[in-house]
């Protein structure tokens, strides 16, 4: 153990605060999201299978407010997951420069957020 560096204030709070916001949303929404979009329908449960026909999903995503909400939730959850993956890589001593790990992680999150916004706009 050595001395404490003086590296100045960190920009981590920016990412961390988005991470926490995404953590809350992921904790609340992801289980239900997986169940309705990928499990119940696959089990052949009528209403859920019907909700994910072509017309069904376009119905689901019809309202601008719904699309806005889904876009925001997905963006924050993406930041949550990528931030956590970044720190997992660091905690596993990944032999890569920290800046590169951050670039890949947050770049990935930004890509998911941006693509989701575009896809939602195109429906």
């Amino acid at each position: 153990m050595g001395r404490c560096n003086v590296s100045g204030r960190s920009h981590e709070p920016l990412f961390w605060s988005l991470f926490v916001a995404g953590s809350v949303l992921a904790a609340l929404f992801v289980p239900a999201l997986i169940l309705v979009s990928s499990v119940f329908g696959a089990f052949g449960w009528r209403w859920f299978a019907d909700a994910f026909t072509y017309d069904g999903i376009r119905d689901l995503l019809q309202h601008a407010i719904v699309r806005l909400a889904i876009g925001a939730v997905i963006a924050l959850i993406a930041v949550h997951a990528c931030h956590r993956l970044r720190h997992l890589a660091i905690d596993l001593h990944a032999p890569l420069p920290g800046g590169l790990i951050a670039l890949v992680a947050y770049g990935g999150a930004a890509a998911v957020a941006a693509l989701t916004a575009v896809f939602l706009a195109l429906i």
Binding site: C4, R9, S10, W16
Partner: protein, 248 residues
């Protein structure tokens, strides 16, 4: 003397010999013996060359921390009976440089404590020795838990981030910073935050939480660090949105 015995596997290391080894000692077993009692038995009756630290024998001084069967613990608080039938493996706290046998170098830790200015800071320091700074029970309750630390360093041995980043200020020192920052009588928060809001301060922490698990005094340093992160985030945005505000 009881007839049952238990096997101790003790980590031995002398800086001028070869690498570390484990040495086995057969010590008497007593229901009410703690690991420290067994070590003292070894020291007094079997092998006087064994080195380890201890003082109070009652979980107050914080000097007897070691790895007992892989877990950081106060050896004066771990009963042999909870690790029977043995063998019981005793090692120095991990993450710290080992000086000799079970004795680790705590200088880095002491420096870290220093960095967070662990004392009440007052701008209006007076020479009046009778000056009183009153505090309500509610104000005391805000930081009391974080003030219970005995500097035993178990939390540092439990923390994988300490193993990766030498400069990480670490659980106990950050909890101590929080202890003073939450004290209604203190005015040194700004100074401490300049230290703890760096990467090597709270932001290296990924809330593994093992520090709070091993803490014998239930200080919950992990909680203290996360609370400091909330304040750090608040402070960050405040600085971002009010760049003109005066900074001391």
């Amino acid at each position: 003397m009881s007839d049952t015995t238990v096997q101790l596997e003790v980590f031995r290391y002398r800086p001028d010999n070869d690498g570390p080894t484990f040495q086995s000692y057969e010590v008497p077993y007593h229901d009410d013996w703690v690991v420290l009692d067994a070590l003292n038995y070894v020291k007094n009756y079997i092998d006087g060359s064994l080195s380890f630290r201890w003082s109070c024998r009652m979980g107050v001084c914080g000097s007897c921390g070691m790895q007992v069967n892989g877990e950081p613990a106060l050896t004066c608080a771990v009963f042999l009976r909870d690790h029977m039938p043995g063998p019981i493996r005793v090692e120095p706290l991990v993450n710290f440089p080992v000086e000799r046998d079970l004795v680790v170098d705590s200088n880095g830790f002491m420096e870290k404590l220093d960095h967070v200015k662990p004392y009440l800071v007052r701008e209006d320091e007076t020479d009046d020795l009778d000056a009183e700074y009153l505090q309500t029970p509610i104000q005391l309750d805000r930081y009391k838990q974080f003030s219970m630390c005995i500097n035993c360093m178990l939390c540092y041995a439990a923390c994988p981030v300490i193993g990766r980043v030498d400069e990480f200020i670490g659980p106990a020192a950050l909890a101590l910073a929080q202890r003073y920052n939450l004290d209604s009588r203190d005015q040194g928060k700004q100074m401490r935050q300049d230290v703890i809001f760096q990467n090597e301060g709270i932001w290296e922490c990924t809330f593994v939480g093992e520090c709070s698990e091993v803490c014998p005094k239930h200080v919950d340093p992990a909680g203290a660090i996360q609370q400091a992160k909330l304040e750090g985030a608040y402070d960050y945005y405040k600085r971002l949105l009010t760049p003109w505000a005066r900074r001391s």
